[in-house]
Symmetry: C2
DNA sequence: GTCTATATTAGGATAGAC
DNA sequence: GTCTATCCTAATATAGAC
């Protein structure tokens, strides 16, 4: 749930579209893995949806595991765009107060997760969290640690500027992010069922207000 | 991550042990589902481990789904024991300050999750969160909502007694619980890999300290 | 890089003897 | 309530023609 100033959000593909079938396989796999989980979706399901025979898939991927691997590499890159780039941090601290910064981070994240593919990638991450070690690594390092590091840096600078009360910036960052990640989980659960995400957006607002109130001088 | 005063923690079985095989099936299923997920563990895996033939299993359960159902019913009952019973609440508010209360809640929860079976049940819950609607219901209602309701009641009473600063008790309860549940997830992830849970226990302590500091007068 | 055909193993589930 | 035997479908994956 964090923070960028101005940036485009995604370039749908990473490389120029060379191999259409391979991309289609990935897209369909993301769809199916996010619905049924990795072990619940079969090569048959995937190839049927793609419109090729099972044997053809093996020209693009060595095996089923390699599809998931590719998907996670993708997610890693998308997740990297959630946070503001290091070189923007000084500008953020200069021009925003805490509440504005947190608010922007949330807008930013909601835009990220409103993208259908990103949403599915998050679901896959959650589903595989306890079975694919790579999923846990992404959660812990690319999501939690990176975000907390970034928040810590910004909080520290804001404290220097008198925009936040002087407190342990690491602990503040952890507290903020721990609540945020729970809200993301709830958001994903609600959205899955096609339910309104209003109640979560309310909670997110509460969270920012609450945190700003205790953190600002 | 909450709060009981004094109580026994579990009675390993719910009914007197009548059908040993059925119980063995459940135990093995909990083990395997928590490792491979529901769709990743087969009837074959289960019966092999139990030491019966596949066909025998169907004398105890109509089908595979029914095993998972039974497991979730179990979890629901265990989860119910994490919170203090309603009739203890006044006593809690009378005799404890906020920090003590939160500390007890955490001790209580750690004791709950240190039980091998409970730990596996939590893993199954997380793994199936996005595929078994019942898992989501348990998470949202039995874990989150009930805990937040309970905290709200206690916080409200503590505020009346001047043990907490007067603030919106619902929002306070939500903030506390949102962070807690993230810590539980991290705890589960670390414990799975056999890693030390020290770093999380440190974070939990921070969380309680942080919250107490902002909530107390 | 797609297809047909096939191998092989694993999946859930049932029938019927004991 | 356990077993043997069996069913049928689905799973991952490979060989080889086009």
């Amino acid at each position: 749930m964090n923070n960028v100033v101005e940036r485009t959000y995604y370039d749908v593909e990473l490389e120029p579209v060379i191999n259409t079938t391979k991309i289609k396989i990935i897209e369909v796999s993301i769809e199916l893995f996010s619905k049924k989980g990795f072990s619940g979706a079969s090569i048959r399901d995937i190839t049927k949806e793609v419109g090729i025979k099972e044997s053809s898939l093996y020209k693009h991927f060595k095996n089923k595991d390699q599809i998931l691997e590719t998907i996670f590499v993708n997610f890693r890159m998308e997740a990297d765009k959630i946070l503001p780039p290091m070189e923007h941090i000084d500008h953020i601290v200069e021009t925003m107060d805490l509440k504005m910064f947190l608010g922007r981070g949330i807008e930013n994240f909601l835009r990220h997760i409103d993208n259908e593919i990103n949403f599915k990638l998050w679901r896959i991450l959650y589903i595989e969290l306890f079975r694919q070690p790579i999923a846990q690594e992404i959660y812990r390092k690319d999501i939690m640690r990176k975000t907390i590091d970034c928040l810590e840096t910004i909080f520290e600078k804001m404290m220097e500027k008198g925009k936040m009360k002087p407190q342990n910036p690491r602990i503040m960052a952890e507290e903020y992010q721990l609540s945020s990640i729970s809200l993301i989980l709830e958001y994903n659960m609600l959205k899955e069922e096609g339910m309104s995400t209003e109640s979560i957006e309310e909670k997110i607002k509460n969270h920012v207000d609450f945190f700003s109130a205790i953190a600002c001088p």
